[in-house]
């Protein structure tokens, strides 16, 4: 019973303060963002050029960092201010996740599978990373990158389809794997060729063979440069080793 009373108390938001960032991160569709450190947001240097994207940046910063309450602003401006605060958060986010603090926070989210898993069967539920196709906002929504098949996927849920890709940026996955090379996957060579009554369709088989040939050439180039590619990070799963792994 007392729990119920407490809940009513927070609902009317009398003495309980909620941080703008926490509220923002709690909105459905915002699951891909990490929380940006206050110090990072307050450092003018990190915001260089962002006043070209949104107006009244100093006020927005105050709102995001809870220095001012949006309720203290004239009612007719609140909606725009809230909207612009969210845009600014996204734009800062794209820069923050390229810093070592931000990368570490995104690494935790990656480990938790917060960005979902690759839907490709042969990728065996490899965790995804968010990526933008453009660094300029308002071009395209966020996409997901699978490092195992090195391909792009649409987020599963429609609510992510409205999140701007620029809030994650084009460089994030590359930076992520340079920083955390230990999570670069071992790639799989598995492919699929459609079959009819047990027989592979000829034209699909032919294309598949040609693609395997292209992979073979890549493998030769890498080996020639002295790069180990069998069952190592950034290499391929070897046929024999794969069988051993399965038998374990």
């Amino acid at each position: 019973m007392s729990n119920g009373n407490e809940e009513y108390g927070t609902d009317s938001s009398s003495d309980y303060t909620e941080y703008w960032i926490d509220l923002f991160l709690g909105i459905k569709g915002n699951e891909y963002y990490c929380d940006i450190d206050d110090e990072y947001i307050r450092d003018r240097f990190n915001l260089t050029g962002l006043n070209q994207e949104v107006s009244r940046v100093p006020t927005l910063i105050d709102i995001i960092t809870d220095s001012i309450d949006i309720e203290s602003q004239p009612e007719e401006h609140r909606e725009v201010l809230e909207h612009n605060s969210r845009i600014l958060y996204g734009l800062i986010h794209a820069r923050f996740i390229l810093t070592s603090r931000g990368l570490n926070k995104m690494f935790e989210k990656y480990r938790n599978g917060d960005f979902g898993y690759c839907p490709r069967f042969h990728c065996s539920l490899h965790p995804l990373l968010p990526i933008g196709l453009h660094d300029q906002p308002r071009f395209a929504s966020v996409k997901l990158y699978c490092a195992k098949c090195e391909d792009l996927y649409n987020p599963k849920s429609g609510r992510h389809a409205v999140v701007d890709g620029a809030y994650f940026g084009t460089s994030f996955p590359a930076m992520f794997f340079q920083t955390f090379p230990q999570v670069i996957p071992i790639h799989t060579k598995d492919t699929y060729v459609p079959k009819v009554f047990g027989f592979k369709l000829h034209d699909y088989s032919k294309l598949n063979r040609w693609r395997e040939l292209q992979r073979g050439k890549l493998e030769k180039r890498l080996v020639k440069q002295g790069i180990e590619i069998n069952n190592v990070v950034g290499g391929f799963v070897g046929k024999n080793e794969e069988e051993v792994e399965v038998k374990k």
Partner: protein
């Protein structure tokens, strides 16, 4: 004849197709099921085959719960009530196992749970045959057109419609997957509701046959791959592509590649029957028998099968 139970009557097949997670299935026509030829070999794969078949066809089937000897009176009366309340049983012709030459004493009757499972298994196996017959293929093509199997999650496939596929034709091994004719790859269904649907109920042949019987599908894919040139894609750092020699450099471009230059097209033509000698080991030991070639295909499902066990809960 227009009594209420008649109008409320919902067939077993309709109920099955409308139940949760069964929306990839099409209703198999009565004619198809009643043609014995279509059921060849299924009786050995399905326990209580005859009872299961009668269930699918909406005949009343006796279960162990109906047997007075084996069940206590109180339980039995409950079982009988539930069995007869359904509108289906009132309208269906009585053709239970006893009236078809089975002796109650020599043969055990299935219980309701077993019977329900057998009926679903039998229906699934018939379904996998039906959808590669002309009427079944057409029914599935309509579902495909309406995007009822979902869209390819791959960004560059631009919402291409997916096609259900099984990794094997043997039931009880792998759950259903989805094939994209555009990227030629296999995906997991996006909703967990399909995670216990047996892939064998769709089978290995269906997508290949659908694509070949409806050339419009390959046409749509061609347009998509031309419009969306994914071949330039690769992760970049501040606009610069990652060098191939770096461990995070590109490794998978080959997977989505199409021959574009003249040299590549010639190389592609040379892949007609096999790979150049120096690359022969690439395809591994599996023999690539194709439609039109004569040798028997060797089993090459093993590798796929082993992989699947690690990632998906197999049907039980």
């Amino acid at each position: 004849m227009s009594s209420d139970p008649e109008e409320d009557y919902v067939s077993w097949i309709q109920t099955f197709c409308e139940s949760f997670g069964h929306d990839y299935f099409v209703p198999v026509s009565q004619d198809f099921i009643e043609d014995d030829f279509n059921l060849t070999g299924l009786s050995s794969q399905v326990p209580y085959y005859r009872e299961a078949l009668y269930t699918i066809l909406d005949y009343e089937v006796e279960t162990s719960e109906d047997q007075p000897n084996s069940v206590s009176g109180a339980v039995n009366s409950v079982a009988t009530t539930t069995a007869t309340t359904g509108a289906a049983s009132t309208s269906a012709t009585t053709a239970n196992a006893t009236s078809n030459g089975f002796n109650d004493n020599s043969r055990e009757l299935p219980n309701k749970v077993l019977l329900a499972r057998s009926a679903e298994l039998l229906y699934g196996l018939i379904h996998s045959r039906y959808i590669i017959s002309k009427p079944g293929l057409t029914a599935m093509a309509t579902k495909f057109e309406r995007n009822e199997f979902g869209s390819c999650p791959r960004y560059y496939c631009d919402g291409m419609h997916l096609i259900p596929v099984g990794a094997t034709d043997i039931p009880g091994h792998e759950t259903v997957r989805l094939y994209c004719p555009c990227c030629n790859d296999i995906y997991l269904p996006s909703s967990s509701r399909y995670l216990n649907i047996d892939g064998a109920f769709f089978g290995t042949t269906f997508p290949g046959l659908l694509v070949k019987m409806f050339p419009e599908i390959e046409n749509q894919c061609r347009i998509r791959t031309q419009r969306f040139n994914s071949q330039d894609f690769g992760i970049k750092l501040f606009g610069f592509k990652i060098n191939e020699l770096s461990s995070s450099g590109p490794r998978m471009k080959w997977l989505r590649l199409y021959p574009s230059t003249e040299a590549e097209k010639e190389e592609y033509e040379n892949c007609e029957l096999g790979l150049p000698d120096e690359f022969e080991d690439l395809t591994g030991s599996e023999s690539d028998m194709e439609v039109g070639e004569e040798e028997e295909e060797e089993e090459e499902e093993e590798e796929e099968g082993e992989d699947d066990d690690r990632t998906m809960a197999s049907e039980n």
